[in-house]
């Protein structure tokens, strides 16, 4: 696949951007490792879906988005919500089901949302958020706000009907939306290749919607940032949607219940050798960044994660009254008089 014109050249990324990309990945990584620890301590209730190993995708797109661009993601959405600037305490507390959770415990780990940061929600039923993201893009188009919607989903999602409907509509209406398929090779426990008619489940379908086939190394955050910037800005300029397939891999299982035994060891090893954060750290060092600067970022993040953990653990569970709030815009749940 040729690099399209205007694809931001990674060699030209400035220092601030690079450190931001590093920080975002570090934040995701440390946040999720902590979430995993808390899960082992039986403090995370319900399910949870980590994207350890996939940090570069959320980080690269997160850095490329304007503060008020809309983002939509899945149940595997800690990363995508964090990078928009949502409160770490709020996110951690939501996983723990505490009153200071970002959804006050009502939504849970699969529905993280921070509209204040234009993180428009995590959607737990495969495919549903693609048309919803298209709708937000439609509103942006009509209201002339210049916002772009970015919609993250997995490889498995490319086989559900809503994928098809949403991308067709987005093209026909030339909506400012960028669809990002994080191809981590697996659905829950089943390899995508075993149930998909084409090898590249997103890229090889782009032509069905009149779009270019786009694949990016999802473990190289500079590459991700580059393609993200290019297509987000094209969309913002009124040139319509894009569908980008980012190849990546999750280090662990699909969800907390999954030891991920179904993956060939060689495959796992070869991907673990391409850890996006290790790769990026090495690149930055090579480019002359000081190890101390990076360590400092990691340390700052750790402080933040520690604080978030403490604040979350210290908070009480949500008040039972919340059960009856916010079904309706009036704040309540009355369906009768």
């Amino acid at each position: 696949m040729e690099r399209p014109e205007g694809w931001a050249d990674e060699a030209k990324l400035d220092e601030t951007t690079r450190l931001d990309l590093y920080r975002k990945q570090s934040a995701i990584r440390q946040f999720e490792q902590r979430a995993y620890d808390l899960f082992l301590q039986n403090l995370v209730k319900g399910t949870s879906h980590l994207s350890l190993g996939q940090e570069a995708v959320a980080a690269g797109f997160g850095a490329a988005m304007r503060y008020d661009d809309f983002s939509f993601c899945t149940y595997r959405g800690h990363a995508h919500t964090l990078v928009r600037g949502a409160s770490m305490t709020g996110l951690m507390a939501e996983l723990l089901g505490r009153s200071n959770g970002i959804l006050a415990g009502k939504g849970g780990s699969m529905h993280l949302t921070s509209t204040e940061h234009y993180a428009m929600g995590s959607y737990a039923i495969v495919g549903a958020h693609l048309p919803i993201a298209a709708g937000a893009a439609w509103a942006a188009q009509e209201r002339g706000t210049g916002q772009v919607a970015v919609c993250f989903f997995g490889d498995g999602t490319t086989n559900i009907g809503a994928f098809h409907e949403a991308i067709n509509l987005a093209t026909v209406w030339k909506l400012p939306v960028v669809f990002v398929c994080e191809n981590n090779l697996y659905m829950e426990y089943t390899p995508i290749s075993s149930v998909t008619a084409v090898e590249h489940p997103a890229a090889q379908r782009a032509a069905a919607y009149g779009l270019e086939p786009l694949i990016v190394d999802g473990n190289d955050v500079d590459e991700v940032y580059g393609i993200a910037t290019t297509y987000i800005e094209r969309a913002r300029a009124g040139e319509g949607p894009a569908l980008i397939e980012a190849k990546t891999y999750r280090k662990g299982g699909h969800s907390r219940a999954d030891p991920a035994k179904y993956r060939p060891p060689e495959e796992v090893e070869s991907w673990l050798a391409r850890d996006p954060i290790d790769l990026y750290r090495a690149r930055l060092l090579e480019l002359g960044f000081e190890a101390a600067v990076l360590d400092d970022i990691d340390a700052q993040v750790l402080v933040e994660v520690n604080r978030a953990t403490e604040e979350a653990k210290a908070a009480p569970p949500p008040s039972k009254d919340l059960i009856y709030t916010d079904v309706w815009a009036d704040g309540g749940s009355q369906w009768r008089n």
């Binding site: 970002i102 009502k106 993201a133 709708g135 439609w138 509103a139 079904v327 369906w335």
Partner: protein, 324 residues
């Protein structure tokens, strides 16, 4: 006041709100250039232009998804699902996304949107184009459910639904599209959640919705004249919010309750209301609560079969006479 058809009142209601609020948009299949397959939305494209009134592909998930996303992002959109049976093709977006997102996000997301649809039987369209699905929507927390029985209510309740900050499933009775009635020319908005009581008979109350209201009214008339049974008829107008106080008042006044509903028998709104009455007004009751419904079968197509399956004036009268 002008006399309008129920059909024309749809466009009148949408137009009133589009004129008032630039954020009101309207999309659906064949709704713009063609004015809708039931001709309910003629003229809107001409008046409001191709950006605010748009044809979509046959992609119900995309239609409802786009409406939801747009509502999150500043529009106040109205989407048409051509026949209410097709809600099944986008039920995930309706029941799992639209209905639940405000709650799940602890109120972060507000969804001021309306999903309009042609509902119910009577046109011999067969089992996949004739369902009355108000109970599907009523069963889902987070959806308001409105179903008018007159042209004036179509305009007024549709306007209120568009202004409402919650998602509303607005079900138009396709068997009533050709009916006529006076509709206020001026701004007309009817609040959601208020039932209307017709008559003041003391013997029985007939509780009805949408297409069943004219039938219940005619039955009430015949019951009075032919059988000396005094009825009052409650036109629910919306199922959510539900005007239980009006219902319970009518139950108190009569002691005998009959629900008249078009949906198939099991788990309809009639069952819901009956069970509320059996719980809260048990000691007001003088006898069994009787539900008059379509039998629990898919709706048959042939004229004679369809007419027999859907509650008729005849059946209402006979049931009341027999049970009362």
């Amino acid at each position: 006041m002008a006399e309008l058809t129920y059909r024309d009142a749809v466009a009148a209601g949408i137009a009133q709100e589009m004129r008032r609020d630039d954020n009101v948009y309207f999309i659906g299949e064949d709704v713009a250039a063609a004015g809708g397959v039931f001709k309910t939305t003629g003229g809107l494209l001409e008046t409001f232009g191709p950006r605010r009134v748009r044809d979509t592909p046959i992609s119900e998930e995309a239609i409802v998804g786009a409406v939801m996303g747009a509502a999150m992002a500043g529009l106040r959109p109205v989407g048409e699902v051509m026949f209410s049976d097709f809600f099944a093709t986008c039920w995930d977006i309706v029941a799992n996304q639209v209905a639940k997102t405000r709650y799940m996000t602890n109120g972060q997301v507000t969804l001021p949107l309306v999903l309009r649809s042609a509902n119910g039987g009577g046109l011999r369209f067969g089992a996949q184009h004739s369902q009355a699905v108000e109970n599907w929507a009523m069963a889902i927390p987070g959806l308001k459910v409105v179903a008018p029985s007159t042209p004036a209510d179509v305009k007024g309740l549709l306007a209120a639904s568009i202004r409402d900050d919650d998602p509303v499933v607005f079900l138009e009775a396709k068997s009533l599209y050709a009916t006529k009635g006076e509709v206020p020319d001026d701004e007309h908005v009817e609040p959601l959640g208020r039932a209307v009581v017709h008559g003041d008979g003391d013997d029985v109350v007939l509780i009805a919705l949408a297409s069943m209201v004219p039938k219940a009214l005619e039955a009430a008339q015949r019951l009075r004249v032919e059988h000396d049974i005094g009825c009052r008829v409650v036109d629910l107008r919306s199922l959510v919010p539900l005007d239980m106080s009006t219902i319970l008042e009518a139950v108190g006044a009569t002691g005998r309750v009959f629900t008249v509903e078009e949906n198939p028998r099991l788990c309809g709104w009639g069952a819901e209301i009956s069970s509320i009455v059996a719980e809260e007004a048990f000691y007001d009751l003088d006898g069994p609560i009787v539900r008059i419904t379509t039998p629990h079968v898919p709706l048959p197509a042939a004229e004679t079969l369809e007419d027999e399956a859907i509650p008729s004036v005849e059946r209402i009268v006979d049931t009341v006479v027999k049970e009362q």
